[in-house]
Amino acid sequence: MNSPLRCERLSKRFGQLLAIRDLQFDLPDRSIYALVGPNGAGKTTLIKMLVNILRPTSGRCVVLDTDSRRLSPNQFAQIGYVSENQEMPEWMTVDYFLAYLKPFYPTWDDALAEALLRDFQLPGGRRLSELSRGMKMKAALASSLAYHPRLIFLDEPFSGLDALVRQELIEGLLERAEDTTVLVSSHDLADIETFASHIGFLDSGQLQFSEEATTLTQRFREIEVTLRTPPTLPSNWPESWSNAQTSDSMVRFVESRFDSERTQSAIAHFFPAALHVSMNPMPLRDIFVALARQGRRSALRGEQS
């Protein structure tokens, strides 16, 4: 099956600010793609371009085989969109909100809508304006799942929600969106690392990497090298080593292209007097933090030069 979403050299400029630059990526069908990156990285801008709320400055995205700038009601009937700062028709009750949306979607599933209301414990007779933030997000998600969308965009859906609501949303999503491709953005990888199948890291409008979560965890290691004497960091060490920290007799850094043999031989080359070397797998959250730090340092170096 075709990729439901493909972007080619996508850029977006707001005046002097280049918010998205030359972005290129595919979304595998039925994947749960986590788009992570620090605040201001361009995640929301990217998603808004994907659903034709914003127009790209250059490049293009193909969403459900249609240029995102030409998305029509036919495509929107297969797309779900939930955003943390979406303006909802606050005067509507939850029941009326769903009843109002139903005729727009030929694939609307009444039974699924009811199940979502029940599972999310949404009070049908309550106005949207009277709902808590978490409840509103649940209502928005329910209204975007009830028609079995082929593609769903979630823009920071968990931001500011307590752990329980977050878990309920995730469970609701995973249970009801088996045949759906999901793109979920977050500035906190902890929100999504448990269920994302693919991860893209966006920083300063550039996609640093985009790959399967499993390969990502395989290629990152936190390396600790214990030495006899206080270490001095070599100036020409590998590019894939970053976030180096030194203490009295220890060097700690992150290897982003881990390969057992190659990494060990590189360590032996740069630290011939090493007493002990440990290579520990990293949780996604630590990988994200390391990458964010690295990105900031690179940006700083760029500014200084």
Binding site: V51, N74, F76, I79, S83, Q86, E87, P103, Y105
Partner: protein, 478 residues
């Protein structure tokens, strides 16, 4: 269509209290219009006052309803829930148009019919005028606010844009009226203005719904507001003031000439405005059909010692008036010019646009308290239980005739005190038009109001020259 009706039902569910408010105000306005009278006497003062308040309140309620309706699915911005839902823009726009049609246009039409019927004016015979009024109401009360709401995101932005456009309109109106000397030119240049405004605002609304390119739509709206002076001035290019003289067939049977007899003196005349002197030159007119009147205007130039006045490119206008059985050419000259012109020998050249109109009294009514219907004018009222006797008329829709009103006990008896112009279809929220009222003191017993319709029989043009005259001999007051 199905989607449009679905969105309409949603809007109705949310906005019915506001729509009900508009309908209530419209009903109240209609009732007060029926009860009110075109004169301010104690018994009508309160009703007229309330009607005046509603005349302001009702448009505000209508504009608010339009704004709320459009903001249900606000077009600018990137956070609205509907942007990523399968809305079809033609259906969305149609749902809004349908709402406006049902809750503004149709109620205004029904209100028009009720007001006209209650006042005794014909309704079914004026359907084209009723429809034309709908076009005016839509163009002036609906479309501009529909367009503003479609490029703004909320009430505060809407109000701000509305005030900005209003200020622009007033400012530009001032510029235009200073330039042209016509105070009503900025908004009152008739069908050209209405047609341009309708097409432009429709274009913006459709463009914004189809493409949601708010910046361009806002610029277009600003451009329209900026072009109000042009819209106001353009029709002037085609008005009689600056147009080339019309070449009309002459009336060989009518003799029309200056009267060289300086002894012919005007018995009464209308005083010139401050800063002007009145020049009245007697005319000899003969050969007019019975019960008709000659009237018209003249483009005048004066040659004073070889120097033309006014300067080339400027136009000086005079009028042809009748007083008793004598005709006069009247001309108001600025006092500053009079000093230069009055004692020098001058040659006067005038090109007259003349028309022969009826001068037959068709209806007489006693000047006692009552109301009566005058064909071509409307419903007229006389109030006598006030310090002064008051007279005023109110017109409905349909054919209208310019009519002069004369008080038969007046001296001189044949001088009309009021000319009721031929009225056009009103563009406000009421289908009836009040004609200027008049008040009389010292009304003699048995005085009668005489109504003289002025249908035009024919138009023609004449050119006259008067050589070697001294304007001082024709100036009033002497």
């Amino acid at each position: 269509m199905k989607q449009a009706l679905h969105i309409f039902r949603k809007d109705l569910r949310h906005l019915w209290p506001r729509a009900l408010l508009v309908l209530s105000l419209l009903i109240a306005h209609a009732i007060l219009e029926v009860l009110s009278l075109p004169v301010n006497v104690p018994e009508t003062m309160r009703i007229n006052g309330m009607s005046g308040v509603l005349t302001w309140l009702l448009p505000v309620a209508i504009w608010s309803l339009i704004a709320w309706l459009i903001f249900e699915e606000a077009l600018p911005g990137d956070r609205q829930f509907w942007l990523t839902r399968p809305y079809r823009w033609p259906d969305l726009l149609f749902s809004k148009v349908l709402f406006v049609f049902i809750f503004i246009n149709i109620p205004v039409l029904i209100s028009d019919c009720c007001i006209l019927a209650a006042k005794g004016f014909p309704v079914f015979s004026v359907v084209p005028d009723l429809l034309l009024r709908q076009l005016f109401v839509t163009t002036l009360f609906v479309l501009p606010f529909f367009a503003i709401a479609s490029v703004t995101t909320g009430t505060s932005q809407f109000l701000l844009a509305w005030f900005a456009l209003l200020l622009a309109l007033v400012f530009e109106g001032l510029i235009v009226s200073t330039w042209t000397g016509n105070t009503s030119i900025a908004i009152g240049s008739g069908s050209f203005f209405v047609a341009t405004l309708a097409v432009a605002t429709c274009g913006i609304v459709i463009w914004q719904y189809a493409a949601r390119r708010t910046t361009i739509a806002r610029l277009a709206l600003f451009a329209i507001a900026s072009s109000f002076p042009a819209l106001g001035v353009l029709p002037l290019l085609f008005s009689p003031v600056t147009a080339q003289p019309r070449h009309l067939a002459d009336q060989p049977n009518v003799s029309f000439a200056y009267d060289p007899d300086l002894n012919t003196r005007s018995q009464s005349y209308t005083s010139p405005p401050p800063g002007y002197k009145l020049v009245r030159i007697p005319l000899i007119v003969a050969g007019l059909p019975p019960k008709t009147l000659l009237r018209g205007s003249a483009r005048i130039s004066i040659d004073v010692g070889g120097r033309p006045w006014p300067k080339p490119g400027e136009v000086m206008m005079g009028t042809v008036e009748r007083n008793a059985d004598a005709y006069w050419q009247s001309l108001n000259l600025p006092v500053a010019n009079v000093k230069v012109l009055k004692n020098q020998p001058s040659n006067l050249h005038a090109t007259f646009d003349l028309e022969i109109v009826s001068d037959e009294v068709k209806q007489r009514e006693p000047l006692t308290k009552h109301s009566f219907f005058v064909p071509g004018v409307g419903l007229c009222y006389v109030f006598t239980d006030t310090p002064q006797t008051q007279f005023a008329c109110r017109a409905g829709l349909g054919p209208s005739t310019e009519t002069s009103v004369r008080l038969d006990s007046n001296v001189p008896a044949d001088q009309p005190f009021m000319d009721l112009p031929q009225h056009s279809v009103p563009w406000g929220l009421s289908p009836i038009t009040d004609h200027g009222s008049s008040a009389f003191s010292d009304v003699q017993q048995g005085s009668l109001l005489a109504f003289i319709p002025r249908p035009k029989f024919t138009e023609f043009q004449r050119t006259l020259d008067l050589r070697n005259i001294q304007l001082a001999n024709y100036m009033l007051p002497r």
